[in-house]
């Protein structure tokens, strides 16, 4: 698989376009120390709903489907994550079980950061923490849109008041 993704985040040509990865060099060097780069085949389940959060997965290449499941096994797709997104953030930060299941839709490259190391990394690097806050805000907008569409059968209405 030919790819612009590098083992080392500092050499990755795609990072300026990605919210989490676009970090200052010193912070990226620290991220490189705590992450493990993994190549995963299509259909790999990165984590399952209900499982304790072991860490986060930065999606470098490939897409992942995020689903929720009922007790009867029925599934609902919440979102299809694209490269640059960080999966498992909310559970890793809150220390709870995963609320969703993440399954790869393509052959993918992911960078895994263990929970404890992520928390230390974010405490030490304010820039990274700000990026995580941005990402979580975006995740939340997506989740609210889904709540709206399943609960009211529509997506978001246009702005009521312009800025």
């Amino acid at each position: 698989m030919e790819s612009a993704i590098q083992q080392n985040c500092l050499e990755c040509a795609l990072r300026p376009d990605r919210i989490f990865c676009d970090l200052p060099t010193t912070v990226l060097a620290a991220l490189d120390q705590v992450k493990s780069k993994i190549a995963c085949p299509r259909n790999t389940v990165l984590f399952r709903e209900g499982q304790p959060a072991r860490g986060v997965f930065v999606l470098c290449e490939g897409r992942a489907k995020l689903t929720v499941c009922s007790e009867s096994g029925q599934r609902l797709t919440l979102h299809v994550a694209v490269p640059g997104e960080v999966l498992g953030l909310s559970a890793a930060l809150s220390g709870t079980n995963h609320e969703v299941t993440a399954e790869l839709l393509d052959d993918a490259h992911v960078a895994m950061v263990k929970r404890k190391e992520l928390l230390n990394f974010l405490r030490e690097h304010r820039e990274a923490c700000l990026h995580v806050v941005d990402l979580l805000s975006q995740d939340l907008h997506i989740a609210y849109d889904k709540v709206r569409s399943v609960g009211l059968g529509r997506t978001r209405r246009p702005r009521a008041v312009s800025a």
């Binding site: 930060l93 809150s94 405490r123 700000l130 939340l140 609210y144 209405r157």
Partner: protein, 240 residues
């Protein structure tokens, strides 16, 4: 200081006795002092709208006292209540951080004390205070987990009775009632509002409550609801 709405206003976050129990507020003194300089403590009566879905974000609202109803609304007027926010929660957070319009409408259901912080002040505060930034990430994570829970409940529950049973079990698990044989819960919402929480009609909620009472699964004593048969309610919640 007593406000017109009978609230005992907490003027300073530094002297607030509740802050150690609240995710966002439990900040180091230096960060709290910076927060003090940018916040506006305000009292609102019941029924006040803090922000409206679709409105450009003005800032965040830290709920100090009282409760706030968070809802989304369809153009035909149908409303869905996502959550009743409790003291300690920060409202309007994701919109303020991302600069996108507010996703929800926030309306007080009690007299409330709210600390408002303007968007530009809040963003600067986050950049300068890494502890606060971390707390915000934690709050957003919790909100995301709640939203996923809501999607699951609305999108994958088969019937209104299943959704109502799940809601009652969730409410009964708070305030140390979870382990009790017959947990009690305070019904602070009307049937109309409960209907808006589970995406059904007021009539259906009234009919379901009548049925639960008839089958002696729940018993009402004023605004207190006693769950007499937790097993039966759990069975309803799992659609068995």
């Amino acid at each position: 200081m007593l406000s017109p709405y009978g609230l005992d206003i907490i003027e300073s976050c530094l002297t607030c006795k509740m802050r150690s129990d609240r995710i966002f507020c439990d900040l180091p003194t230096a960060s709290l002092q910076s927060f003090e300089a940018i916040k506006y403590a305000t009292a609102y009566p019941k029924g006040a709208v803090l922000f409206v879905e679709g409105q450009a974000p003005r800032g965040i609202f830290v709920l100090c006292k009282g409760r706030v109803k968070l809802s989304v609304c369809a153009t035909d007027g149908k409303t869905l209540i996502l959550k009743i926010a409790e003291p300690g929660e920060v409202l309007g957070l994701s919109a303020t951080v991302s600069g996108k319009p507010y996703e929800l409408t926030a309306e007080t259901i009690d007299p409330c004390q709210v600390n408002f912080v303007k968007r530009e002040d809040f963003l600067r505060f986050l950049k300068d205070n890494s502890d606060a930034c971390f707390k915000v990430a934690e709050q957003l994570s919790e909100k995301y987990n709640n939203a996923c829970h809501e999607v699951r409940s609305l999108g994958l529950s088969h019937s209104a009775s299943e959704k109502l049973a799940k809601l009652l079990l969730e409410w009964s698990s708070k305030n140390g009632e979870a382990a009790k044989q017959e947990p009690r819960l305070k019904l602070a919402l009307t049937h109309e509002e409960i209907a808006q929480m589970i995406g059904t009609s007021r009539e259906t909620v009234t009919r379901l409550f009548a049925d639960l009472k008839k089958r002696q699964i729940v018993q009402a004593k004023g605004s207190t609801l006693i769950i007499r048969n937790k097993v039966a309610l759990k069975t309803m919640a799992t659609n068995n």
